[in-house]
Symmetry: C2
Subunit: 309 residues, 2 copies
DNA sequence: AATTACTGTTCCATATATGGCACAATTTTT
DNA sequence: AAAAATTGTGCCATATATGGAACAGTAATT
């Protein structure tokens, strides 16, 4: 079948009872319609309509043929309807990928509000600490903590600064001595998130502008911040963690901030999504919602902002 | 919806799992396929497929959309199937129009053989003595007795000569006197078929080549030959009738041939059908069957051929 | 590690389809 | 009776879509 559109046009011609009428309804020149139906008949080797200059008569074949053509039209309209449906208001599923820590601390606190505001939207929250390929994982939005997002095929929106600092248990500090300078940490056991680069280092900046880069060999590598925090609280070593994650533990005396005068690079919580012309309303409103409410959620969760970094 | 073919192509792309595969299967360049699907997505404002260079991923919308596209494909195939069905062997209905007399004397005798030979063909025999418009009456084949068929949009096949002669009842001949010359009929009551021209005349040719044209005012005008024959047998006057129609009555002594030395123009039984590229097998075989068996049927029915005209 | 094969997309000269017009045929209106 | 309106089709300059080649990216193979 060369051009299925011809089937739909044929159905319209029959239903309007004339080429001219159907042409007007379809917004197509009647000469085109005439030729296309004639082409269709030639291709099929069968006459569908007998024409006088004034009236059309369906052939027997045409009559049976018509039924299926009408099915084509109905199915095509139903197909189009599907796309209208998800476009007229926020509807359907949105897959969002987020690291565990972010999900547990920030997302969970704002999701109820979002779900209440958009009752026809379902959220599929994929929690993972691994870097995700948005297309392969079929994810609409991903949250990432990075200093910069380099992938040009993605749109990146900066949601929050996410300051990190070094933490260790008081017991560790007692055991290894309170460090005054980054190099004092050289014989400390260290913990770290997994980095695919395989290079583990801290880049310190003092309040006077002095820079020190220090390589270290982590005793524990994992891809979950919470695990790292527990390990640190259990005296396993010193670790770089988001400030907001540790605030409670610091207040409880389970962790202390190490080298508070030296800053580590401020990461940023990014939201990334693929560049797409037709972003669905459901995805759009989640993006907007995250932009609007994530900073507030971070405040409630005690996330470090510049002022307390 | 601009081009419904795109829906079918989309379905094929999904089912093959790749543009290249679908392109090969459809016999379409993959560049065309790629562009058409992209156009479709733009037109709908929705992304149907997420592509990597190696794999395709249906979006949620695409998945729902696909169902209807598959319906389109199935319906289009079903439509095409309808046309194949009636083309692969003689099948379906054939409407044939024929004058009453021809139907009753000739067609009925050969129809059983035809119906037996082609069990999947139905014949719709429209008996009428009025001139039929093949298209408006939706007739595939019409039988007509004319000297020539002038309509160029029709294909005319000559089936038989159909000689006519004048007949009257013996009683009439006794009453008005046996005519020796056409002009002897001038005071006879006359009967005639209905002619739309409104001009009633007999054109005689003698065996010596002499021509005489005689106008007359019919006492009875009808459009059925059988009625005319009965009227003549009932002594209502002289009438021009096909020779074969009257043979039985002549043998029974109910009618006699008048002016046997003077011939009337020999009409011809024609079969006409519209010129169509795609003549269905069912129509084709009926045409062929009539050409093959009508002469024999005429012989059995005693239809006048040249030899007995 | 390097090579090969194959993916989907883009480009652009070329081939194809389009659509305004004219036309013959017919119906409706004047 | 004549004129106006409307039908479906054929024509042809023009606009649109096509499809082969090139390309960048990825997976499988060597």
């Amino acid at each position: 079948m060369k051009d299925i559109t011809n089937l739909a046009w044929f159905a319209h011609v029959v239903e309007h009872g004339s080429f001219s009428g159907a042409a007007r309804a379809l917004g197509v020149p009647k000469s085109t319609l005439s030729r296309r139906i004639a082409d269709l008949e030639d291709e099929l080797g069968v006459r569908l309509l007998n024409r006088t200059t004034r009236k059309l008569y369906l052939t027997d074949v045409g009559r049976e043929f018509l039924v299926h053509c009408q099915t084509v039209v109905a199915a095509a309209e139903a197909a189009e309807q599907v796309t209208h449906f998800v476009q007229e208001k926020p509807r359907g599923k949105v897959r969002i990928s987020s690291p565990y820590a972010i999900s547990q601390s920030l997302l969970v606190s704002i999701m109820p509000g979002f779900l209440a505001r958009y009752p026809d939207v379902q959220i599929d929250l994929v929690m993972t600490n691994k870097p995700v390929n948005l297309i392969e994982e079929q994810v609409d939005i991903a949250l990432r903590v990075r200093s910069t997002i380099e992938d040009s095929s993605l749109i990146a929106r900066e949601l929050l600064p996410s300051a990190s600092a070094l933490f260790a248990s008081p017991e560790c500090v007692t055991r290894y001595g309170l460090p005054e300078h980054p190099l004092d940490l050289s014989d400390w056991p260290t913990l770290s998130m997994h980095y695919s680069s395989g290079r583990y280092q801290w880049s310190f900046t003092s309040q006077h502008g002095e820079s020190v880069t220090m390589n270290y060999q982590p005793r524990l590598i994992t891809d979950d911040l919470w695990v790292l925090r527990e390990a640190a609280a259990e005296h396993q070593g010193v670790v770089s963690l988001p400030v907001y994650l540790c605030r409670d533990y610091v207040e409880q005396g389970r962790l202390v901030r190490v080298l508070p005068e030296w800053r580590l690079p401020v990461g940023k919580l990014h939201m990334v999504y693929p560049y797409r012309r037709g972003l669905l309303p459901a995805v759009r409103v989640l993006i907007d919602y995250l932009i609007e409410f994530m900073p507030g959620a971070a405040g409630l969760a005690g996330l470090a902002t510049d002022s307390d970094a």
